[in-house]
């Protein structure tokens, strides 16, 4: 179960080398995303996460908001 974190902790983890993953559709990612984020839409996350993410580094996932 992922642990919920706030913006300050996101920034701290990013500085420490965490991988940031946006799970929104690619078109929304193209328009705007967090610096250095990887696009991994929800429907592809299970099939692609293993290949595209480094298992040794923390992973932060986000979508548009908490709704």
């Amino acid at each position: 179960m992922p642990r919920e974190i706030d913006r300050v902790e996101v920034q701290r983890l990013m500085e420490a080398g965490a991988q940031v993953v946006e799970v929104l559709p690619p078109a929304e990612f193209e328009e705007e995303h967090l610096p250095g984020a990887i696009s991994l839409p929800l429907r592809r996350i299970e099939s692609q996460a293993r290949d595209r993410l480094d298992a040794t580094k923390p992973v932060i996932v986000y979508c548009f908001d908490s709704a």
Binding site: I5, E9, V10, E31, E32, H33, P35, Y62, S66
Partner: protein, 157 residues
């Protein structure tokens, strides 16, 4: 694994850097006028009117002590009796927008809903400024022109 539950909206609303085709474009918070007059709920309309009109404004944002938007005094409300209290004269609970909304989206929304102005607030309701539709449309027009000129320049190259 961590879940940034507040998400992209929270990040952009805080004015933090982003990447992508819309990154760096002007947003509601950039274009909103920060010098809009404000008043408190317990002020008398007479004093407020004088302050608002002497600054050349036709609108005043009613805020509480934490600068949270409580209401709006438009031309109609500014015509209220001088002795009336702001709290009773204002239009309560105006629609507000977040600072990160791209300005072209604001211009389109304000035009479609015939909104001449709208307060821009943080996610916890604090006033950032007031966005005038004329400003939103002007900046959008300038953006389109700049993009068109850039495209022409690129085509000529």
């Amino acid at each position: 694994m961590y879940d940034y539950a507040a998400g992209k909206q929270d990040w952009l609303a805080a004015g933090l850097p982003s990447e992508g085709t819309l990154a760096g474009l002007p947003r509601a918070g950039d274009v909103a006028r920060k010098d809009v007059p404000t008043c408190r709920l317990d002020e008398r309309m007479g004093e407020v009117k004088e302050r608002v009109r002497s600054g050349g404004w036709e609108v005043c944002v009613v805020v509480n002590q934490e600068n949270v938007v409580m209401g709006l005094l438009r031309s109609k409300e500014l015509g209220s009796d001088d002795d009336a209290q702001v709290e009773h004269a204002m239009r309560p609970g105006p629609s507000t927008f977040r600072p990160h909304v791209p300005i072209h989206e604001m211009a389109e929304y304000m035009s479609r809903h015939d909104l001449p102005r709208s307060p821009v607030t943080t996610s916890n309701g604090r006033l950032v400024g007031i966005l005038l539709r004329d400003d939103a449309e002007r900046v959008t027009h300038e953006l389109h022109q700049a993009m068109h000129e850039h495209h022409e320049g690129t085509s000529d190259a």
